[in-house]
Amino acid sequence: MPHRRPTAHAPLPRRCRAAPLAFDAFFQRWHQPFLRYAAMRLWNTATAQAAVLETALRIQQNWDQILAEPAPAAVAFSILNDTVDAFTPVPDRLPSPIESALSALEGQAPQQAQCLRLRHLIELPYDAVAALLDINTDLAKNQTWQGMRFLDRTLNPPPTAESTPL
C-alpha cells in the first residue's frame, strides 16, 4: 500500500494515530450512502471509491473538529461534495432524462434536488437526508415532495392543445 508523501498542508503526525472508534462507527453508517452518492455523481466505481477514500482521509485528519460541529454528518457530506467536485466524471456520457431533470431542478432549487437524490436515488430515510443537509426531517420531506412534483412535470408534461388529437 503506497504511503502518502508528507506535504506542507498536512503535517505528518509524529506517531501513528489509530482511527478513533467514533470515526469507524460514523463510516459504518455513512460509507455505503457516500459511495452510492459518489457513484451517482461520477458514474465510475473505481473513481467513486477513490473519492470516498479521499473524503474519509480528509475527515479523519479533522475528526475532532468535525465531531465538535453541531451537524457532523452535514460537514462530512460537504467534504464529500468538495472531493467529488475535484474528480472528473466519466466523459462523453449522455445524461439520462432523470439526470437532466435533476440538473434543471438543481439550478432552480438546489436543496430540492439534493433531497430527491438522497431520498430516491441513494435511498436514504428522511432522517438521514435531513442529517446530511442539516435541515429538519419535515423540511426534508417537503423539499423532496416539491422536487418530485417538478420531476413529474418535467418528465411527464401535460399534453398541450397542439399535441392533443382533435
Binding site: 501513528c16 455505503q32 452510492r36 436515488l121
Partner: protein, 70 residues
C-alpha cells in the same frame, strides 16, 4: 412509467457501483492515514525538512533545467 418507477430504476443501477465491504474500507483508511515507519524513524530535523516544502517539484524542476541545457 411513473417518475417513482424511473427513480427506482436509476437507484437499482447505482447498486452495481456501490457495494464495497465497509470493514475493508476502514482498514484501508487506517493504512493510508498511518505514517510511513521508515520516514517516522528519521531524526526530527530530517522530518522537519521533509514536511517543510515541495522537495519533489523542486527536484523535478532541477532535472527539467538539466534536460533543457543538454
Amino acid at each position: 412509467m411513473t417518475t417513482e418507477e424511473i427513480l427506482r430504476r436509476e437507484a437499482r443501477h447505482l447498486d452495481r457501483h456501490a457495494n464495497t465491504d465497509t470493514d475493508a474500507f476502514l482498514e484501508n483508511v487506517a493504512l493510508m492515514a498511518a505514517p510511513n515507519p521508515v520516514i517516522m524513524s528519521l531524526p526530527e530535523h530530517h522530518l522537519a525538512a521533509l514536511t517543510a516544502g515541495p522537495a519533489v517539484p523542486a527536484r523535478r524542476d532541477h532535472h527539467l533545467q538539466l534536460a533543457a541545457q543538454r
